[in-house]
């Protein structure tokens, strides 16, 4: 059992949880992830370790409610427990002093790129951060990114905050201004990572993406997370999750990630309906009590 020692709601569907996991806190490096099973009936969910505190023995996770299991996880409160947390998993990001690098986070991907930006800064790089979101209230970790980056550009799709446009628009500007970018690290929705890869491909700027394929055990046992990189079969959980963006077969991956779309939707809808009923029942109950 892994205790939730703190919780902060970042946005309506986005929660930051601090979890007690001393062994993982001690071992984790930038780019590592954990697999969480919150409840007995829950799925095993892979989550990037955003931060850790070795002294307190805690790790920080940021969870976006997408399906049923993740919705339950974002609704859990301080003092409650996750049944299982295992890690740190995956290959850590290779961190070197390269010069000028760009770290791009789209949506909840900002939480995942933040520890990499932090490690790259510590290694002596000049780090330019690009934080993208659909709209203002979904921009996360701007302050944290400001602390570890030399410069941060915020973009929103609707222009409600920062620059109006996509992260790739900001990236193009940076590429115009900076003649010698040594590396780009992009984490976000799959189409965003593919767009970043296409943006940097002509200039052959080394670009890394952290892939989020369907995953189950996270230990190399099931092969659900297999991806084609440079024509070779790779397991994202043990060989990745980071890969050379210019060599990833995104089309195949995007199609594979839709495998359970129907079931995920069905499961979430049923769950939300059940929750609504419960709220309704509770209200009726209260009303009766007053009566």
């Amino acid at each position: 059992m892994f205790k939730i020692v703190d919780k902060e709601v970042l946005a309506p569907t986005l929660s930051k949880l601090i979890i007690e996991a001393p062994f993982i806190a001690k071992k984790r490096k930038a780019g590592n992830f954990v697999i969480v099973r919150a409840t007995e009936t829950g799925e095993r969910i892979p989550l990037t370790i955003v931060d850790s505190d070795e002294e307190k023995g805690t790790i920080t996770l940021i969870i976006q409610a997408i399906g049923k299991t993740t919705t339950i996880m974002t609704q859990m409160e301080r003092g409650e427990f996750f049944l299982d947390v295992v890690g740190p998993l995956g290959q850590p990001t290779p961190i070197d002093n390269l010069g000028t690098v760009v770290c791009i986070g789209g949506g909840v991907g900002t939480a995942e790129v933040y520890p990499i930006a932090e490690a790259l800064k510590e290694a002596g790089n000049r780090v330019i951060g690009i934080v993208g979101a659909r709209s203002k209230e979904l921009v996360i970790l701007e302050d944290e990114m400001n602390q570890v980056c030399d410069e941060v550009i915020v973009t929103t799709d609707d222009g409600s905050y920062g620059m109006k446009g996509f992260v790739t628009d900001a990236l193009k500007n940076v590429m115009n201004d900076e003649p010698d970018i040594k590396g780009v690290y992009a984490i976000g929705p799959m189409p965003m990572m593919r767009a970043v890869a296409e943006t940097t491909r002509p200039q052959e700027i080394k670009t890394y993406v952290s892939l989020n394929p369907i995953m189950m055990d996270g230990t190399g046992m099931c092969g659900a997370c297999r991806v084609t990189v440079n024509g070779e079969l790779k397991f994202a959980c043990v060989d990745g999750p980071e890969f050379d963006a210019h060599k990833v077969n995104f089309d195949e991956l995007i199609a594979r990630n839709r495998t359970y779309e129907d079931q995920e939707k069905m499961s979430l809808e049923a769950f939300l309906q059940e929750q609504e009923c419960k709220v309704h029942d509770a209200q009726t109950e209260q009303y009766k009590y007053k009566d």
């Binding site: 295992v86 190399g220 046992m221 092969g223």
Partner: protein, 498 residues
């Protein structure tokens, strides 16, 4: 040793009044089974085993050979005539205790052991008639004990005050832990997944090995004082060297199995709708996807499923798929039926359940539709050539014989390779070119104090082989730690003298 056991337990026909010639006339008894029509729509156990009457009747068939070859046929040398004799005496508790002397996981092995190739194949009765149903009798006494709750943990030796770490809680790890705990060691098992049992939990389906049976056997290991820590990936959460240097373990057993699925490397293998058998089975067995949406983990099995392979895992995968309810379930295997490595019983069960077998068929490509979903599988016809080094006839492709089968789900069950995490993070641990850990005849690896067995050393074997390796390694670890104790004692004496 064994002979003595036999004289102790044998009553020379007092219990069994039948003459050998009469015993030979009794036909082998069949276990009670769920009918194929019914069982394909549920996940409950296919075989219900023997009831009291059947078990006693079957036990009467044992010839009580003076030189019981079945004991040598058993990889862990269970005193088979001994426990059968006790069963006949209706001392069921003594019978199960007799089995447990040699095998700490009888309810599991009684179900999944390939007895037909081990103890039963050498049974003298089988020369002219059918062999005694030893496996079903083992299962009977184990189930008897579970139903009547008379288990008391065996006596433990004096505490040795030495710690042993066992990596992996599959059949091998559980056996090593049980053996060493009985010898007085402090044993901790580290398991990567959230539930102990390894392949017994995530691999073998509920209908062949109910999970409550595994859980109960695990509890019996814990009853010896063994601690099981789940959610620890040795090599990631903690390394082998940290176990030695920081946590004070004096010996480590690696029983991590061969868990990394192999793929065919043919076009289309990453389309949606293509699973490894490991993924399919883990979703169903460990994550209970067959209970979706009560459990959150989904599984998508279409209308026409093709499972590729001919081993036990392929049988488990194809029979699991069948129970999810597709219209057609086909097994594709590149050799012929005779070469299939799967247990005869499982092949027979699969056939009864309406699985279509397509032999001498080798997949060469998987084709997808416009959404990236499996649409069909292209195969090539094969013929059999000369036997290979294992004596199995080699499949040879027939030129120009390609054909396609319409399917929407493909399951690849062509074997597993060792997971490399421990090998990569443990300096000095020697491996073969296939990634298996090299061990000597005692189960010792190239690193002092580290032992290994089961699939991580063999590449792909059986539950009982893992149990046998575990027993062998436990003896070696005991010898090693005894030596360490003696050396430490000598050193302490020398210090005291000086």
């Amino acid at each position: 040793m064994r002979k003595q056991n036999n004289t102790n337990t044998k009553t020379n026909g007092k219990v069994n009044p039948l003459k050998p010639s009469e015993r030979m006339k009794i036909p082998r008894h069949l276990p009670i089974e769920q009918g194929a029509e019914i069982r394909i729509s549920n996940f409950e156990e296919v075989s219900q085993g023997f009831n009291f009457e059947l078990a006693l009747e079957e036990a009467k068939r044992c010839l009580e050979c003076k030189n019981p070859v079945c004991v040598d046929g058993c990889p862990v040398n269970i005193d088979i005539p001994g426990f059968i004799q006790l069963l006949l005496e209706k001392d069921y508790q003594a019978a199960i205790e007799k089995v447990r002397e040699s095998n700490y996981l009888p309810a599991i092995c009684g179900r999944v052991c390939p007895q037909e190739n081990l103890c039963e194949i050498v049974c003298l009765l089988g020369k002219k008639r059918e062999p005694v149903a030893i496996g079903k009798l083992e299962r009977f006494v184990a189930d008897y004990e579970m139903a009547h709750g008379k288990f008391t943990p065996p006596q433990k030796a004096e505490p040795k005050n030495q710690k042993v770490a066992v990596i992996g809680s599959g059949p091998g790890g559980l056996t090593v832990a049980a053996e060493l705990a009985q010898r007085g060691y402090d044993v901790t098992i580290y398991e990567a997944l959230h539930e102990p049992g390894g392949v017994l939990i995530f691999g073998i389906p509920e209908f062949r090995l109910p999970k409550h049976i595994v859980k109960e056997e695990v509890e019996r290991v814990k009853a010896l004082g063994v601690e099981i820590k789940t959610n620890v990936i040795v090599g990631r959460t903690i390394t082998i060297d940290e176990l030695f240097d920081e946590l004070g373990y004096e010996s480590v057993y690696l029983g991590t199995g061969a868990g990394s699925p192999n793929f065919l490397n043919i076009p289309g293998e990453n389309l949606s709708g293509v699973y490894s058998a490991s993924e399919l089975l883990t979703r169903v067995n460990l994550m209970k996807a067959y209970k979706f949406p009560e459990y959150d983990t989904p599984l998508k099995i279409g209308k026409r499923v093709a499972v590729i392979g001919g081993g036990d895992v392929a049988m488990d995968a194809v029979r699991t798929s069948k129970r999810i309810g597709p219209e057609h379930t086909i097994l594709l295997y590149r050799r012929s039926r005779e070469e299939m490595p799967a247990r005869v019983e499982e092949v027979h069960h699969a056939e009864e359940e309406g699985i279509e077998f397509q032999m001498l068929t080798n997949p060469v490509a998987i084709h997808g539709d416009e959404n990236g979903w499996v649409k069909s599988i292209e195969c090539q016809k094969m013929k059999l050539g000369e036997p290979d080094e294992k004596g199995r006839r080699r499949p040879i492709p027939i030129e120009g014989s390609n054909f396609t089968i319409d399917v929407d789900t493909v399951v690849v069950a062509i074997g597993q390779s060792p997971n490399p995490v421990i090998q990569q993070t443990t300096p000095g641990l020697e491996t073969t070119k296939w990634g298996t850990i090299i061990v000597d005849e005692k189960g010792a690896t190239s690193r002092e104090g580290i032992y290994a067995g089961g699939d991580i050393a063999r590449g792909g074997a059986t539950v009982i082989q893992a149990v046998a390796d575990g027993k062998r390694a436990a003896v070696s670890i005991h010898e090693y730690l005894t030596q360490v104790r003696e050396e430490n004692k000598k050193k302490a004496e020398q210090v005291a003298e000086s």
